[in-house]
């Protein structure tokens, strides 16, 4: 159960980091290109800490539990050979249905406004989430949360400023920011969806209470959008599924690109 919780957090960090990393060399201006890849590396750093912790948890499971944890073929092969898994195995050899990230973070970059909107929704969530997770009874998660909060505070500052800059900018930038905010809105509901894992982890004092975070998130998002002259979407229907392994088609493309090298040349280092 705790392993699922850690993997969900790790997958969010990995996929978000990968998405932002796709901007490398494509940013609208050198300085913002560097800003996004810096942020990407913050997410990837957090992903590494979490995957290392997840691997540690996995390797201490009983053989029976190990054999049913993942349905990814490549991981099952390693498990049946009795080999321990490491952070790279979890990142590069897992299939899409074993990924537990939010649908929001796998959405494509599209344009600058979409990238900003996705970051803004996620950063606002992360900021509140890691503030809560710092109180976790699990000391490893609490310390990862403490380190992450410093990084995420800056991420949120960056993305909030861009929402205001574009929203309260020219007619065109306002329109495009509003459109990105509208279209990604339906992926925000899943951020607060309490799965069985979330409920169990909260009960044990390990995980955060997402319903508590929800109202704070809405306040924070509304405050920035008001300054940005952006209208808060009113849609009630929300997409979900990522936290249970049901993803949008975009995840498959990310994994194909990200995992190709390790799949084609197993164990290669460079």
């Amino acid at each position: 159960m705790k392993l699922d919780y850690i993997l969900h957090l790790a997958d969010d960090a990995l996929i978000m980091g990968h998405r932002l990393g796709e901007w490398c060399g494509h940013g609208p201006i050198l300085e913002q290109d560097i800003a996004l890849t810096n942020t990407s590396l913050d997410h990837l750093g957090r992903a590494r800490s979490l995957f290392q912790y997840a691997a540690e948890q996995f390797n201490s499971l009983t053989p029976e539990l190990k054999s049913v944890q993942f349905s990814s073929v490549a991981l099952q092969a390693l498990v049946s050979e009795g080999k321990p898994l490491d952070e790279d195995d979890l990142a590069f050899l897992r299939d899409g249905w074993d990924f537990r990230n939010h649908l929001l973070v796998e959405q494509p970059n599209n344009d600058w406004a979409y990238t900003v909107a996705r970051s803004f929704y996620y950063d606002a969530f992360n900021y509140l989430f890691f503030t809560e997770l710092m109180n976790s009874t699990d000391t490893t998660l609490a310390s990862i949360a403490e380190k992450s909060l410093k990084e995420v505070t800056y991420h949120l500052r960056w993305s909030s400023e861009w929402v205001v800059r574009l929203g309260d900018g020219t007619d065109e930038s306002h329109e495009r920011m509003q459109q990105a905010i509208n279209e990604l809105w339906m992926y925000t509901g899943e951020l607060f969806d309490m799965t069985e894992t979330d409920k169990a982890m909260q009960a044990e004092g390990i995980g955060a209470d997402l319903s508590k975070i929800k109202s704070l998130w809405i306040d924070r998002v509304a405050q920035v959008m008001e300054e940005a002259t952006i209208t808060i979407p009113q849609g009630k229907w929300m997409q979900k599924g990522g936290k249970s392994g049901r993803h949008t088609e975009h995840l498959g493309y990310i994994l194909a690109e990200m995992q190709f090298m390790q799949r084609a040349y197993p164990g290669m280092e460079w």
Partner: protein
């Protein structure tokens, strides 16, 4: 240095000064483009402090800097060449005094 206000595609240039640790002065680190002062500070953070170079950042728009004319170097700086008495080189320092 004049700024072309008609060129809307180009963000203005800023000069960045970084203090490497408390107690030291800010030193010129380089320049960058940004739409305003807040963005210039953030860009400076992302571009110039990634390797723990700083604890404080100053930014100033490049057009506000008035630079001396290299063509006037002779009259500006060479007159100091023969005023060696301005350097306190003729004091004998006791061995006990360090860091001078």
């Amino acid at each position: 240095m004049s700024q072309d206000i008609n060129n809307k595609n180009e963000w203005p240039l800023w000069e960045v000064f970084i203090r490497s640790k408390a107690g030291l002065d800010h030193k010129h680190a380089g320049s960058l483009h940004a739409a305003d002062a807040d963005m210039a500070l953030e860009n400076a953070r992302d571009v110039y402090t990634r390797r723990m170079e700083g604890v404080s950042i100053w930014v100033v728009e490049s057009r506000h800097i008035r630079a001396s004319d290299p063509g006037q170097s002779e009259s500006l700086y060479e007159p100091a060449n023969d005023k060696i008495y301005r350097h306190p080189t003729f004091y004998n320092l006791p061995d006990e005094v360090k860091y001078m």
